[in-house]
Symmetry: none
Subunit: 195 residues, 4 copies
DNA sequence: GATGAATGAGCATTCATTCAT
DNA sequence: CATGAATGAATGCTCATTCAT
């Protein structure tokens, strides 16, 4: 363990610091306003040092994307035979909670989706995620319909699209409050239940 | 038809050409990739000529925003006593149709919403629009519930949020096909109908 | 006399208007800040119209120089046998008066002298003027010394240089007031008189 | 002597190089003709490098002004009880000498005075200098008169204005030679002496 | 690992000037 | 004579990237 001088930190820690600063910069200013110099300043290091860790701006952005997407992958595992209504309700509450807790994550994610229109690779990555998410919800609706808890004429895929759409639009519905969002979540649940 | 040596066209026409080219550039490359030089090239004019019409890049962007937002304002007027279900169905079909017809519009609009997080003025403009849209839908749901056509436990506001969310997410649901989108629209309608 | 429409004016009048506007622009902003477009705006005509009268910016500047230098040439003719002291006193008062009346003239002239360092042609023009001015003063001092009105050890050329220097420095002595300037003029006269 | 691949020199040295080049450029072409690109070329560095040291053209100009004005401030301290005539003679010779040695300094200073008409801040700076200079000379003349070495009817302030005027006009008296300037200086001294 | 200094490629903007009408 | 529209050639400035120390 070499004695560290000044604010010397472990390499991996430095990388994380830089990625976090970049993530925040993107959330605040968009990709449009991302400047590697500013990120370096934020971390308190020289630009040349930043380039030692991330040779190009692209590499830094890729690391941020990795971090964000990595977080997303962890779709909450639905217990084998849990109640579909509860699972749906909890899923909605879970995402809504994350939205309130870390808006930055959603902002950057939004930027990522905007970018995906021009970046095929990014698009592929996000598409995999979207498909998995829709599948997760489809299974819930299928299960609920099969059990007779949800409407018999319920279209599992259509409902999945509605849920994903609602949750993805959280940031872009500018007139949305926390209460209205919860109201919409409740309405979604009622809408699929058997009357 | 006076053929002019210099490729001169009517002033207003020129402005429109430039705005259209800029709009397309934003849709293709994002605000991030917008270069006035490229817009000028696209139109086939000199950069200085572009600046003759739009003194700054900001003014050009403002014109594009104006064009897009201006299009949005025209919320389809609901006939006095039209059938709520039909109105809803038609509204969903109308937006879905526009999405298929002019994806650029939605892409730029998406960029605009991303920007609104950093641009208070833009945010205010879009917020007005969002509020009007939600109000329009809320009235439909209210009407349908009052008439007994929609579910008695329907929350008009919650349902409005779900519809807006679905339609706003069209672009960011990467795995969405035209059919799946229509399926979701159908599901939305079924979900609010009295069983 | 053709009927004139709108603010149509005679050609020579237009030229004069433009030159005056340019002169004022130079006095206000310096050559550095001279913009032909602004001059045209000031006159209320199109730039292209201005270029009709003055094909190039250089031609416009030349016209301004001409106007200023033309004014200078009129060195007040010393009456054949006038009193040297009176002539000197009047000359000093004359320049001082003009300085108070039309500061713009002195400002532009100052700009001209600054420019003469880079513009040999302008330098030649101004040099002729300077030489004539010095000669005029030298003659006065010579005359006054010969008549015994001025000091016997007076150096006519040296005194001429002092007078010209004083008058040329009016603009660049930032702490100078009208009174102090008059005081210096008086001192100059006393300094050459026989005690 | 560490030879560096990139033509790097000490930071402060670089700044000085750049300021000197800018000063010379201003002396040669005026503020009107000052181009940061040309200054960079003169120094042999990239424009971006120049902007590394001076973020804006204005900052560079300010540095040049600082350098020039800084030099001026050093008014030669008059020894406690030195002979007024000698002090005056030496002062005149000192400025004349500097004029011959470094004409650039006077040219830039002249530009500065021209500029001061549009730049209040610069005007304030130069005004302080002018007032100090006039005060310095006034004290000399006062002292000489009190001692009976100078004329009894000498106006110290008027004489100070004449001296400053003469020295400031050195550059704009186009027909002036070194000899004529010395002649004028001698005349100035004689003019204040008691006959 | 870290940094000061340097650079190339670009970018929005300005400005005198031109030309068809 | 007058003008709207157009253009070429700068001009100041930015930014990601590099490299010797």
């Amino acid at each position: 363990m070499p004695a560290s001088r000044r604010n010397a930190v472990d390499g991996e820690q430095r990388r994380a610091q830089i990625v976090d600063a970049a993530r925040h910069a993107i959330a605040t200013l968009g990709f449009e306003g991302l400047r590697v110099r500013d990120v370096a300043d934020q971390v308190g290091i020289n630009i040349a040092t930043l380039h030692y860790y991330f040779p190009t701006k692209e590499a830094l952005v890729a690391a941020v994307v990795q971090q964000i997407v990595g977080t997303l992958d962890r779709v909450p595992p639905s217990g084998p035979a849990r109640d579909p209504r509860t699972v749906l309700t909890e899923h909605l509450a879970h995402i809504l909670g994350r939205f309130e807790a870390d808006r930055d994550e959603f902002v950057v994610l939004n930027e990522l989706y905007a970018r995906s229109g021009r970046d095929p690779e990014l698009r592929a990555t996000l598409l995999v995620n979207d498909a998995a998410w829709a599948g997760f919800l489809r299974a819930i609706f299928q299960d609920g319909r099969d059990r007779g808890q949800f409407r018999a004429d319920l279209d599992p895929d259509g409902a999945a699209v509605l849920v994903v759409g609602f949750l993805k639009s959280l940031l872009s519905q500018l007139d949305l409050t926390a209460e209205r969002a919860r109201g919409a979540a409740d309405e979604m649940v009622r809408a699929v239940l058997r009357s």
